[in-house]
């Protein structure tokens, strides 16, 4: 029985597929802030697990070249690949999927900014 438990423990600890352990090739450092096409204001950010959730969720998108979450400014910076964009409704859905809320969206080119309505 102890062998069975040891095997189960080993299975538990190695069950995560290799794909999730693979090194992320996209940018994720503060340098993204300088080249960001989109800045997303967020609420609910309190720790690095929050940053991780947002980075992982956005980086699955082909349009995204890199992301960076700054806990101090509460801003998610998104750098896009050439000739791509992310619509506001897509950004809001991705942030919600990661477990957080959007307070604002602004773009480097000044287009299509968004501010979340005040909670009553």
């Amino acid at each position: 029985m102890k062998l069975l438990k040891a095997l189960m423990m080993a299975a538990c600890l190695t069950a995560a597929p290799a794909t999730v352990l693979a090194k992320d090739k996209k940018m994720n450092g503060p340098e993204v802030v300088e080249i960001a096409d989109i800045s997303v204001g967020l609420s609910g950010l309190v720790c690095d697990f929050c940053s991780l959730a947002l980075n992982k969720t956005f980086k699955k998108r082909d349009e995204v070249r890199g992301t960076y979450v700054d806990l101090d400014t509460k801003i998610l910076s998104v750098a896009l690949t050439a000739d791509n964009t992310l619509a506001n409704d897509v950004i809001i859905k991705l942030v919600k999927k990661a477990g957080y809320s959007v307070t604002s969206i602004s773009r480097k080119d000044g287009s299509d900014s968004y501010t979340a309505p005040e909670k009553s």
Partner: protein, 215 residues
């Protein structure tokens, strides 16, 4: 010192055991949670399959009863409150599996079915942390077990993304079925990127070591 620790634990109740207070991460995320303290050696690995649910395996060795639970655990994020400077969460959890005796010899007990139900909540800013949890285990012939955990924490400094985050915490517990019904632990939490480590000691001198890693 012991009286002071127990006093703090009463203040903290019914706050909770935060090493398990965030059992749902983000869709397609894997999390490993290891908890080792006076009560248990526990491993829980789970996969978050949507914004509100994760499913995983749980192994828990009960140090007092000398038996092990092995089974599946489903976690649900019942509600999250995102605010500009804080976040609060309410979670439920359910586990189903078997318990095995770790003793050998003629007194060895048969395997039995087991299940548990739990609820936990937390509220945190980047500076303060409060959590609470209640859990009830039905272990068949191995006996039922309830626990109430609580935790208060303060960060001595506010760290930005990727830096080392440090927390001073106190955890209190109430275990109605146990001889030692009230207790407390002092805990240091270190948190960097996807990894969280907690080291501590309880009022009986027993060490505590927890680890969480998100992938």
């Amino acid at each position: 010192m012991r009286c002071f620790a127990i006093y703090l634990s009463i203040l903290a109740l019914p706050f909770a055991n935060s090493a398990e207070a965030r059992p749902v991460s983000y869709p397609d995320g894997w999390t490993v949670m290891l908890r080792n303290d006076v009560d248990q050696n526990s491993a829980h690995i789970h996969y978050t399959f949507d914004t509100q649910h994760s499913l995983g395996l749980r192994l828990r060795y009960d140090r007092d009863g000398d038996f092990t639970f092995a089974g599946a655990q489903l976690n649900r994020l019942i509600k999250r409150w995102n605010n500009p400077d804080s976040q609060a969460n309410l979670y439920g959890r359910f586990g189903l599996g078997q318990v095995f005796d770790d003793q050998s010899g003629p007194l060895k007990r048969d395997d039995d079915e087991a299940l548990f139900l739990g609820v936990s909540g937390d509220w945190e800013t980047r500076k303060y942390f409060i959590s609470a949890a209640a859990e009830h285990w039905e272990n068949g012939q191995y006996g039922d077990y309830s626990s109430f955990h609580g935790r208060l924490g303060v960060a001595p400094y506010v760290a930005n993304t990727g830096a080392l985050h440090t927390w001073f915490m106190v955890e209190g517990h109430h275990k109605p079925e146990s001889e030692d019904k009230l207790g407390a632990s002092a805990i240091l939490r270190f948190f960097k990127g996807p990894a969280l480590v907690e080291v501590g000691i309880d009022d009986g001198g027993e060490p505590l070591l927890n680890y969480i890693h998100r992938f």
